[in-house]
């Protein structure tokens, strides 16, 4: 049900502000940015090293927690960061209520699916790698 709404010059659309809480949104946008920045600087040398690697090298790279832990942390923080950014973009350009809500839901689902699939993929890697190595 849509809530009853009154219109007037000073009436604000209460339901289109990012998360109903501008300050928390602002702070989290910066925290996730700073965390992603630090992690990307940590990972840049390692990622540069595997730029021309073949499949086995990539598996070996992903089998080491010192690579996957910062990589997954980077994915977590940067996906949160881009989810927050997308909320601002949606609220800036999509004022039609239902479209706005639908896009926010889509953003939420997309970001969640991205984090979950990346997490499962990177956890799956080391196990499969160890199995191949054990069978040799």
């Amino acid at each position: 049900m849509m809530p009853a709404r009154s219109y007037g010059p000073t009436t604000r659309r209460r339901d289109v502000n990012a998360n109903h809480s501008g300050t928390a949104h602002f702070v989290w946008q910066r925290l996730t940015a700073a965390a992603s920045l630090v992690l990307v600087l940590i990972l840049t040398p390692a990622i540069s090293n595997i730029a021309h690697s073949d499949y086995e090298d990539i598996r070996a790279f992903l089998a080491r927690p010192q690579n996957t832990v910062p990589l997954l942390a980077l994915i977590l923080f940067s996906v949160f960061h881009m989810g927050f950014g997308a909320q601002v973009i949606i609220d800036d350009y999509v004022s039609h209520h239902r479209s706005n809500r639908a896009l926010h839901a889509a953003n939420y689902l997309f970001c969640s699916a991205l984090i979950v699939s990346c997490a499962i993929a990177s956890v799956n890697c080391p196990m499969a790698f160890n199995n191949t190595r054990a069978s040799n």
Partner: protein, 135 residues
């Protein structure tokens, strides 16, 4: 009697077309465009990880894309967009600290935001040996 209340027409604020383009304005827009591009580009990172976990066949599909001309263009564009957004973000950290709001500094930072990412992208491509690539 039911009275349908409609929102009163509100005056519109001036929009993009009335402003003379400025470097700060262009870099603000670029920050949003690169952010939106990176949102889509995150799928590439997910594809890479999922392909690596799925096995050699899935990974060679990803490699075929990455080594194609279109793949090169997209991945280099992704790298540049990431660095551009990162440098743009550093600018925002400076502003969050309450500094760099004066016009010369803001304009200088905007020009740096245009030039530095191009240099850093070229530097990274050089370091990973893009020119003497495997393909």
């Amino acid at each position: 009697m039911d009275v349908v209340r409609r929102p009163r027409e509100r005056p519109l604020s001036p929009h993009l077309q009335v402003y003379r383009p400025k470097m700060t304005m262009a870099m603000s827009i670029m920050h949003r465009i690169t952010g939106a591009a990176l949102y889509v580009g995150a799928l590439l990172l997910a594809w890479w990880l999922i392909a690596a976990s799925n096995g050699p066949a899935a990974y060679s599909t990803f490699q075929a894309f990455a080594h194609s001309f279109a793949g090169n263009v997209i991945l280099i564009g992704y790298l540049w967009a990431l660095i551009h957004h990162m440098i743009g973000g550093l600018r925002h950290f400076v502003w969050d600290a309450g500094k760099g709001f004066d016009l010369p500094t803001a304009t200088a930072m905007a020009y740096a935001n245009l030039i530095v990412p191009v240099i850093l992208t070229a530097l990274i491509l050089f370091v990973i040996g893009f020119t003497s690539g495997v393909q």
